[in-house]
């Protein structure tokens, strides 16, 4: 079958050859390379020559079993490649999905920095999907950068070292007399210089450097990292090239749509299939029973036609009778009522506790209570779910804009009863992820439809499908009680978290809370209780899972306590942080109070915290730590007498360690602020009789350009290890804006979205 092979997929073949070449060298086990068995680097030979280094990213030991750890410690399994070609071009493979987080650009920048490469000669290709070779191939959790930082730097440094050695040998000078820059080696004494391309073949004949002696750059010497670098796919994006899942075309392809029951769990009783099959362009229409797994295939009716429009038109004439006897009857209204009832009761379970909370409340100078809630929301990525699938001769091949191609592979093998070697996943760029594409339901549906019709199909969900069959950000409720002593210091915290469960045992995905959630480890007396409400609606990770709702409640309530104690919120938060320290000693992915205090101070200073504002205008501050990122934000808003809200400016300060791509990191933060604002202002999915609504953008008021505030982003570039930036700038936004509204208008908002309280923009 001939797919429309875009350059991304052509790279697959090239990479496979590279890996085979590397493995062949390995099999020969020649002493030639002088590589210790524990080395992470290896030279690879490849047609066309040049310096090719194979290296390992994210040792599986970090994620796998002890047995796997033992194995990876002694076996060398390259999963990344860097190639300096004789023509001077440099090729780097990016192994994970690009979903708009910019990883394809930032991975290559890290290598290029240590290599001292001429960035204009660097090319980046999407690696093929093969977890047996690459380990984790997914995008989520803001983890791509921290997991690969050291290995990418060392690979670049090793290649640079070999190119320098080749030049020094050529000139008969000492390596220490040579320096590098812009893909060239220069000899200071004689002003001689050679380009990396000229040196590539000679460098490849040299032994690998001793990894323990590789010198990595100091942050002050970076020339590329921390600068603004534009995305490697930008040209293709602005000229409309076929990068996305929806753009894939396979020869002989048909177009499919799939209708499922609006209430999850409904089964097909009957449908007017005979009538539908007679409609123009329709090739087939049939029931798919599914396997009852909502993250794979639920029952529905597939229509396969000669064009998307023919399939969509036929679907309008489709009439399905559903058996909803076992379908969801969820009701958000009833859940809200039930949460209000249980809020005042003792939590069904205790998640964590410290100190004597009851006594702390009895002896407090002041206590404050507040009941917070936030609704279900949809992911609504701009590219509606889709997958192109081709099942033929016991093999399945799919083209998918997924966030988890590695999991798609195993899920498809299991669903179709095939060995994993008979499953091929082509990773496409994804038109937004936000967590939605961690689940491969549409991939599974497309595979089954292709198998049934015996032809390649592109399954296209409509926007209405996408909104009604999401894995939603779960709503939640926090009955909070806090206390301050006579000096205005926080002394006690009680949170009765009311969340949802599908099995009455554990919270749904994204609906759990960490026993150490802020400010657990900063308060003498702390109690976190939990009550579960039943739910059938599918839920899943949504940008900054857990934190995206919890931060609103916790960081707004801290402002309530500061206000009750007549304290300035900035001063109150800084006192809470106390001495600079890791809150969970030994865990450098946990909160560091010094880093927290620094971003809080910085955001406040940049926003002019404390400077007088006209009446009706106010500033609000909020901090939140999530996904290893420390972020503080100050919102400046005004509110008129009719509750018309204007958000003028949001000041963001973040510490995620050294910044890789300043342009990308800033873009992620600005986007997170706008996403957070959009969501808190007017977004909610209602649930009634198991049905989610609204169904399209006309009633799901995502923020438009005219209402986008100025967003100033400031990074504190600390020497802590780098961490991700796709998520942690979102959680502080809602409490910062709500705290600002309180400052401007005196109204405390404890329910999202704000349209519920009559606010408009």
């Amino acid at each position: 079958m001939s797919a429309s092979l875009h350059s991304e997929f052509l790279a697959d073949r090239e990479l496979r050859e590279l890996i085979l070449a590397a493995e062949e060298r390995d099999a020969r086990s020649s002493g030639l390379l002088g590589v210790s068995r524990r080395s992470f680097l290896k030279l690879a030979g490849v047609a066309g020559g040049g310096l090719v280094l194979a290296f390992s990213l994210e040792p599986r030991a970090a994620f796998g079993s002890a047995e796997e750890s033992a194995r990876t410690a002694t076996e060398f399994a390259p999963n990344a490649f860097l190639r300096v070609s004789p023509d001077g071009s440099i090729l780097i493979y990016s192994k994970g999905p690009e979903i708009g987080q910019g990883v394809k650009t930032s991975f290559a920048m890290i290598v290029a920095e240590e290599l001292d490469a001429d960035w204009s000669r660097v090319r980046v290709e999407q690696a093929r999907i093969d977890p047996a070779v690459y380990g984790r191939q997914s995008a989520g959790g803001s983890r791509s950068i921290p997991a690969s930082w050291d290995q990418l730097r060392r690979a670049g440094a090793a290649a640079r070292s070999m190119l320098v050695a080749a030049a020094a040998k050529e000139w008969g000078v000492s390596e220490s007399e040579c320096r590098t820059g812009k893909s060239r080696v220069l000899h200071a004494g004689s002003e001689r210089e050679l380009g990396y391309g000229e040196l590539a073949n000679r460098a490849a004949a040299l032994p690998l450097p001793d990894e323990s002696r590789l010198k990595l750059k100091d942050r002050k010497d970076y020339v590329l990292l921390g600068t603004r670098v534009t995305g490697v796919d930008n040209h293709a994006l602005v000229t409309g090239k076929p990068l996305f899942g929806i753009d894939q075309v396979v020869s002989g392809m048909l177009y499919a749509v799939f209708e499922k029951c609006a209430a999850v769990g409904g089964k097909v009783v009957e449908a007017n299939l005979d009538e539908v099959k007679t409609l123009p362009g329709v090739k087939d229409a049939f029931v798919i029973e599914g396997n009852g797994n909502v993250s794979e295939v639920m029952p529905g009716v597939a229509i396969v036609a000669t064009s998307t429009w023919a399939a969509l038109s036929a679907r309008r004439k489709l009439r399905v009778r559903w058996d909803e006897s076992r379908a969801s009857t969820d009701s958000w209204k009833q859940s809200v009522e039930r949460a209000a009832e249980v809020a005042s009761q003792a939590p069904a379970a205790t998640v964590s506790r410290r100190g004597d909370v009851d006594r702390a409340f009895q002896t407090a100078a002041k206590t404050v209570e507040g009941f917070y809630s936030y609704p279900f929301v949809a992911h609504a990525p701009m590219e509606p779910q889709n997958t192109t699938a081709s099942y033929k001769d016991g093999r399945i091949e799919v083209w998918a804009p997924t966030q988890t191609p590695d999991r798609a592979l195993t899920v498809l093998a299991s669903l179709l009863g095939l060995h994993a070697s008979r499953v091929t996943i082509h990773q496409t760029r994804a038109g937004g992820g936000f967590g939605r594409r961690l689940i491969n339901d549409v991939v599974c549906e497309a595979a089954l439809i292709s198998k049934r019709v015996g032809a390649p199909v592109k399954l296209q969900w409509t926007r209405e499908d996408d909104m009604q069959h999401d894995f939603y950000r779960v709503g939640g409720f926090h009955a909070l009680k806090g206390a301050v002593d006579a000096s205005g210091k926080l002394t006690a915290w009680h949170d009765h978290f009311i969340t949802f469960s599908a099995d009455s045992k554990d919270p749904v995905a994204g609906g759990d809370i960490d026993a150490n959630e802020f400010p657990a480890l900063l308060t003498e007396s702390f109690r976190l209780g939990q009550t579960l409400l039943p739910l059938a609606t599918p839920c899943g990770p949504w940008r900054a899972p857990r934190s995206n709702g919890i931060a609103f409640a916790v960081q707004s309530f801290l402002h309530e306590l500061a206000t009750a104690a007549n304290r300035d919120h900035l001063e109150f938060l800084l006192e809470l942080m106390g001495e600079p320290r890791w809150l969970q000693p030994g865990n450098t992915f946990a909160l560091h109070t010094g880093r927290a205090a620094n971003v809080i101070r910085r955001a406040a200073a940049e926003a002019g915290w404390g400077k007088p504002l006209p009446k009706g205008r106010g500033r609000g501050l909020a901090f939140h730590f999530s996904h290893a990122g420390h972020f503080a934000e100050v919102a400046e808003v005004s509110v008129d007498t009719k509750k018309k809200l204007a958000v003028h400016r949001v000041t963001v300060a973040g510490d995620i360690g050294p910044i890789v791509n300043l342009s990308g990191a800033e873009n992620q933060c600005q986007g997170a602020v706008i996403d957070g604002l959009s969501t808190m202002l007017g977004l909610e999915m209602d649930i009634e009789q198991g049905r989610l609504s609204p169904h399209n953008f006309d009633r799901y008021p995502m923020l438009r350009l005219a209402h986008a505030p100025e967003v100033d982003v400031h990074f504190i570039q600390s020497d802590f290890g780098p961490t991700g930036v796709g998520e942690p700038a979102l959680p502080p936004l809602a409490p910062a804006v709500c705290n600002a509204i309180f400052a401007a208008a005196g109204e405390r908002l404890r329910t999202l979205p704000l349209t519920r309280a009559g606010y408009t923009i």
């Binding site: 534009t230 602005v238 590219e383 509606p384 006309d698 986008a708």
Partner: protein, 158 residues
Amino acid sequence: MRLRVNGKEYTAEGVEEATPLLWVLRDNLGLVGTKYGCGIGACGACTVHLNGQAVRSCLIPVASAADQAIITIEGLAPSDEALHPLQRAWIDQDVAQCGYCQGGQLMTAAALLAKNPDPSDADIDQALSGNLCRCGTYLRIRKAVRLAAAELRKGPRS
């Protein structure tokens, strides 16, 4: 049915007249830079130019666009080497995150600048508020439009 897209003549065979232009561009002509986002004209991802006007191709029956001048994102640049100033600004300002909506954003912005070479911030806000960007790249879109407008006013590049 005959279609004139990006200065080229196409014949779309067996296409029902009511089919939205969006799906004919994508499925029949292979011009997939025009994106499906909502199907109800609410997001702007499918924006193309019809006789110089920015329109939502998901709402335009193909029959009403026959024999008229259609420009899609693939035809915005005079050539592959010479991009439209908006495209250059989009690259230089690193506007895109996921990039899915950006073709539509560019087409709307291009129609604006063709009519109003010196738009105010309010003009930009108004013209582009029909185009959703779920990633929230609005601040860079605003800046890129301003920069491209300034470049266009300076005249063709030497």
